[in-house]
């Protein structure tokens, strides 16, 4: 397993309001990059730089303790978005290879 799957330092928009956390563990279950851990029955962000802003944790947080500006981390998608005047989008013709 590569341990160096971290991206730019302190850029990800993931935020956690610990006071709202009820310790349900859902965020830890859905995170594909072990960004969060459970400590004393509360979630805690441990590797922010590994967060790809997929939004799974925020979506599955029943108390809305987590917020993140989610979207596609894709340069071509961002260029697409600028050209079309939309949000970054990875729409391309082949559904198999790309979003």
């Amino acid at each position: 397993m590569d341990n160096n799957q971290v991206y730019l330092k302190n850029v990800a928009t993931l935020k956690l309001d610990v006071t709202k956390c009820i310790g349900c563990n859902r965020c830890i279950e859905v995170c594909p990059h072990e960004v969060l851990v459970m400590e004393d029955k509360k979630a805690k962000i441990v590797t922010l730089d590994a967060c790809m802003e997929c939004g799974a944790c925020a979506k599955n947080c029943p108390t809305k303790a987590i917020t993140v500006k989610s979207g596609v981390g894709c340069a071509a998608g961002i260029i697409n978005g600028i050209l079309r005047g939309t949000e970054p989008t990875c729409d391309c013709s082949d559904p198999g290879s790309c979003c």
């Binding site: 730019l8 859905v30 799974a56 599955n60 981390g73 071509a76 998608g77 961002i78 559904p95 198999g96």
Partner: protein
């Protein structure tokens, strides 16, 4: 080619009312992969309508989402088919699904299954327990190697256009048609689409555009070794601008294929990288054209 599977409920083996229920996108390749892994297992698959898009991408758009799961469970009448109250949703669908809302609206509790379909038999055997390893999205050498053919083809037309332009210029220059520029451009292209993806974790820097400058150095070393980087200092400087510009831009585009870059991160690196890349490419090309005619 048709990539879709008809949404609905499908039986695998001989399921009964106690058999596990797995939710799948209606992208044919995902559905087939799932069925293959469920060999010798009795289960139900509920295929939801994601317009033929895979789970991860559909979840990002919200088509693999709470609403579609809720509606589909009602439509197939799942509560009439099984006696338990658990559905297994692929973890990579989680960006589109609010587990607590699915439960509120249908009574079915969502258990997020492993990232890879190949872990499903072990997950079922363990009583729907997912190990830490099963939760992680990898981006190993072999995964990146699989992406190389796609990276190679995706921008090939721009490479050919650039090569033709450069050859055209040499054909009209006093020194006559010369293939070296074509090879240099090809090396820059390979640096960004093959070397970059393969060497990714070992290249210095965190931003992909910086990593692309390092693969450009490899391309430049190769070109210099074969004496095709130019004879004058001015021509060499031109290639020292052009090759990193191309390689850096192409590797920056690999963020879309990677499994760990974030939107705000890519935006941040592009804000700095794109102006530098375009300036380097334009300046380098002008400088190179000048060396051909002066």
């Amino acid at each position: 080619m048709d990539h879709t599977v008809e949404p609905g409920i499908y039986a695998v083996g001989n399921p009964n009312q106690d058999s596990p229920v797995l939710i799948s996108a209606n992208y044919k390749l995902s559905f087939d992969a799932l069925r293959k892994e469920l060999k010798n297992i009795n289960a139900y698959i509920v295929v939801i309508d994601t317009k033929g898009i895979n789970v991860w991408c559909a979840a990002g758009k919200g088509t693999f989402g709470t609403e579609e799961i809720v509606n589909r469970l009602k439509k197939v009448g799942l509560d009439q088919i099984v006696s338990h109250k658990t559905i297994i949703v692929p973890q990579l669908g989680a960006p589109g699904v609010a587990a607590h809302e699915v439960q509120q609206q249908t009574g079915f509790r969502v258990v997020y299954g492993p990232v890879r379909a190949s872990d499903i038999p072990a997950f079922l055997k363990a009583g729907l327990k997912v190990s830490k390893e099963m939760r992680q999205v990898r981006f190993a050498f072999i995964d990146r190697l699989h992406l190389v053919p796609l990276e190679l083809t995706i921008s090939i037309k721009y490479l050919l256009l650039l090569i033709m332009t450069f050859l055209f210029v040499t054909a009209f220059s006093p020194t006559g048609l010369n293939w070296n520029p074509a090879i240099n451009l090809l090396l820059a292209y390979l640096a960004g689409t093959v070397l970059g993806p393969l060497l990714l974790p070992w290249l210095p820097g965190r931003s992909f555009s910086v990593k692309g400058i390092f693969t450009a150095f490899i391309a430049i070393s190769i070109a210099a070794h074969f004496n095709i980087i130019g004879v004058t200092k001015r021509e060499m400087s031109a290639w020292l601008l052009i090759i990193p510009a191309i390689s850096s831009f192409l590797l920056m585009n690999f963020t879309g294929s990677s499994t760990y870059t974030s939107l705000s991160g890519v935006q941040k690196e592009m804000k700095i990288a794109v102006p530098l890349q375009s300036t380097a490419l334009v300046l380098g090309s002008i400088l190179w054209i000048i060396t051909k005619f002066i």
